[in-house]
């Protein structure tokens, strides 16, 4: 398919009408709000608003849904940075650097970088989507069970990088997380495992409540103990965009993560959460100061945020050109297309090429709308951190519980949230890192189900695992990154120990 420049300009002109621009802005604003509320994901936001589009013109409907999608992806980072609550799973990696930055009084710097990185990633994703869809979509179809298994293994190799100061404890967390992910129906035989006979456990502990419990609720327990000892945090918000130095400093990571994010997004079934962690691991491995990661290192934040927003552009690629959704949100979008009487896939390119280009244009304009709305909102968001901790902390607890419940109106999810909150608190106290659990929960089912699926296809012959080039490539990458990160981790552990000794010496002196 040749690229049609004149049609592209015409599409931009169509989308650049006040009506469509307005609807994109509405979508972005709604998306930011939904994304920043704990428990409400981009998927849920789009799904909730699909019925509103029944009977509306296609471009308007799709532009609004795309706005929500992009807005929510960015919105997740706001609560991640300010209150350590991942608004969406894709923002979980943002917590690692964003929250420590906010605690250091750099909430404004973190928020503006998150916004800029989201914008940058989004634009890259939209550009790749506009110009390289046919090439990328061919790649996406190559992914079968073996490739997914290899991708999961590659993703899991990041665990070493997020293990904090003890590799053994990081591995314990990861294995524990993988065990939790094996709760529920076995993906191939359907046998219910570790369910204790409970209906609610048949699909394992619900993911979003687990996530909220581990990160947000555990921090509430941590916080109440420190009241009085901590001085009120100050948020210096004197700018809307990151400084030129910060951008320059992170530029390499922004570019790389955007490309990684777009590619991972374009693989059906792999979404923003995986993209963010892989990019974060990448940023840490290649950094000169890996020991500073986890203590508020801005390039880690830039990497994860640009990756998860680039992912949305990537996920639209297989949806539009193959009719195959790239992630959970685009799966819902597929339904919205069909209701509009549009069947995504090669037919859409043949019959409705104008709408394809209008979607490219909407995607691009949505990024600019997000940048401006985000800039206008940054001061407002940062106010959250100025709220008295005695009011904010209990409110975070209530909001976490409400968010956990809202997902599927099940009180069991509220119990899960509290249980994981307690678990998270105990683990933090004894220095077991929490992010490996999260990564294990995302990738564990992917690794297991696809390994077993591959085995079904090969009738139990393990040689299928090395029979496909992409899979072998990914596994080699996994081994390389594992070795690199273990070496890096040794350095990190040593430097951290040095720093601690120096610190103790200072105190005793």
């Amino acid at each position: 398919m040749d690229f049609n420049w004149s049609l592209m300009f015409a599409s931009y002109a169509t989308v650049f009408s006040p009506g469509v621009l307005f609807i994109i802005c509405v979508g972005i604003t709604a998306g930011i709000v939904i994304g920043s509320l704990p428990g409400l994901t981009a998927t849920m936001g789009v799904a909730l608003l699909v019925p509103l589009t029944f009977g509306r013109p296609p471009l308007e409907s799709l532009a609004m849904l795309i706005g929500i999608y992009c807005g929510a992806m960015y919105g997740g980072s706001i609560s991640a940075i300010l209150i350590r609550t991942p608004g969406t799973p894709a923002a979980a990696a943002t917590i690692l650097e964003g929250y420590p930055m906010a605690r250091r009084g750099e909430a404004g710097r973190a928020l503006s970088m998150a916004l800029f990185a989201s914008f940058f990633g989004g634009v890259c994703g939209a550009l790749i989507m506009t110009f390289a869809s046919p090439i990328v979509s061919g790649f996406a179809l190559e992914f079968g069970p073996v490739e997914y298994f290899a991708l999961a293994i590659f993703g899991l190799s990041v665990i070493v990088s997020i293990s904090g100061r003890s590799l053994v404890k990081g591995m314990m967390s990861a294995v524990f997380g993988l065990l939790i992910s094996s709760i529920g129906f076995d993906p191939i035989s359907g046998f219910p495992r570790f369910t204790f006979g409970m209906m609610e456990m048949m699909e394992g502990p619900p993911f979003i409540p687990t996530l909220i419990g581990l990160f947000a609720v555990s921090e509430v327990f941590n916080e109440v103990q420190k009241t009085g000892q901590l001085q009120q945090l100050k948020a210096k918000v004197d700018r809307f965009l990151p400084t030129w130095e910060d951008i320059k400093h992170c530029f390499k990571h922004l570019c790389r993560s955007s490309v990684i994010g777009t590619f991972i997004g374009s693989i059906p079934g792999a979404g923003g959460d995986i993209a963010a962690f892989v990019s974060y691991g990448q940023a840490k491995r290649t950094s000169k100061h890996p020991e500073r990661f986890g203590h508020g290192q801005i390039e880690g934040l830039a990497a994860s945020e640009s990756a998860n927003n680039a992912c949305s552009g990537g996920a639209m690629i297989p949806l539009l050109s193959l009719g195959v959704p790239g992630d959970a949100v685009t799966a819902v979008l597929l339904g919205a297309f069909i209701i509009q009487g549009l069947q995504p896939g090669p037919m859409l390119y043949k019959e409705n090429i104008d709408i394809v280009y209008q979607i490219f244009a909407s995607m691009m304009l949505a990024q600019f709308a997000m940048l401006f709305i985000g800039m206008a909102g940054i001061r407002l968001f940062a106010k959250v951190i100025l709220v008295d901790r005695a009011i904010l902390t209990p409110t975070i607890f209530v909001l976490s519980m409400v968010g956990a419940f809202a997902m599927r109106s099940n009180i069991f999810d509220v119990y899960t949230t509290l249980a994981f909150g307690i678990l998270g608190y105990v683990m933090m106290r004894y220095d077991y890192p929490l992010s490996p659990i999260l990564l294990a929960l995302i990738l564990g089912p992917m690794a297991e189900a696809n390994l077993r699926r591959a085995m079904v296809i090969s009738s139990g012959d393990p040689s299928i695992l090395v029979s496909r080039p992409i899979a072998v490539g990914l596994m080699v990458l996994a081994v390389v990154s594992l070795l690199m990160s273990i070496r890096g981790q040794k350095q990190v552990e040593a430097r951290l120990a040095e720093m601690e000794q120096a610190f103790e010496k200072e105190i005793t002196d």
Binding site: T43, L141, E142, G190, E203, G335, I339, R408, S409, V456
Partner: protein, 319 residues
Amino acid sequence: MKMKSLFVGMTALLAGTFSAAALAAYPEKPVTVICPWTAGGGTDVLLRALSKEAEKHLGKTINVVNQTGGAGAIGHNAIRAARPDGYTIGMITFELNSLPPQGLVPFTWKDFDPLMRINSDPAALTVRKDAPYSTVRGFMDHAKANPGEITIGNSAPGSVWHIAAGLAAEKTGVQVKHVPFDGAQPAVTALVGGHIKAVAVSVAEVRGQVQAGNLKILGVMSGERDKIFPDVPTFKEQGVDVEFYTWRGLAVPKGVPAPIKAKISDAYKKAFDSKEFQEFAAKASLNLAYQNAADFTKFLDQNYKDVEAVMKSLGLAKK
């Protein structure tokens, strides 16, 4: 004693007038519809489209709540256990009849009060366009000649499409490998990518890829041909006597007063007949198959027996 009986009489009278008033005034507040499947999925979109129309006839807001999990078990259980005051309705789906034989839930369709069936989608055997066979027979012969080669994708272990594929294989006496995926969509994607040989999911789920020329349907497991693909013969026409459908319908918990049930049924029937909903269903290629409460109940009874028998013979039921 006298006082007491008077008191009892008074309260009974009060309660009587009160409930009669409540019945007449129904609905006084928004009504909730439980969807046992995720927001944005096929069942959810259907239910939301239908409820949007039903609101106009019921006169109050209808909120769709997604209570998901446990392969539909949680949502169905929530419908069953809801207060029988007519303010909670639910959409029941095929899984209500496939979960009990697996010993996964402590209830059956008999614990619900069915209102109406909305649609039923037959399974369709779909393969890649470049496959060397173009009939169900050809496919089965190929499977016989090459044992262990044919892999059929389905949406989850023990799911409707798993059972459908198992039934078709059993009826033709061939050995195939069933590959469960995490939903029908990933299975179709894997077929397009050439990672498996066939899928046995509904026509709606493969329509896009068939129209795009990537896949072809060998046969549908229904009594009559599909409306969108009238050229595709049924299994029966090709000499394989298999019919298998998934279905969706509305139900309320047991104990909802008859007049309230009538109001709900009436509103939803009008919504079902509305031009908007019919148009929606055509776009989403849903096979509408309305049945009233009495017919739906008979259907559920028969379907339950059929599904249980099939699952037993396929080894999917609990031993």
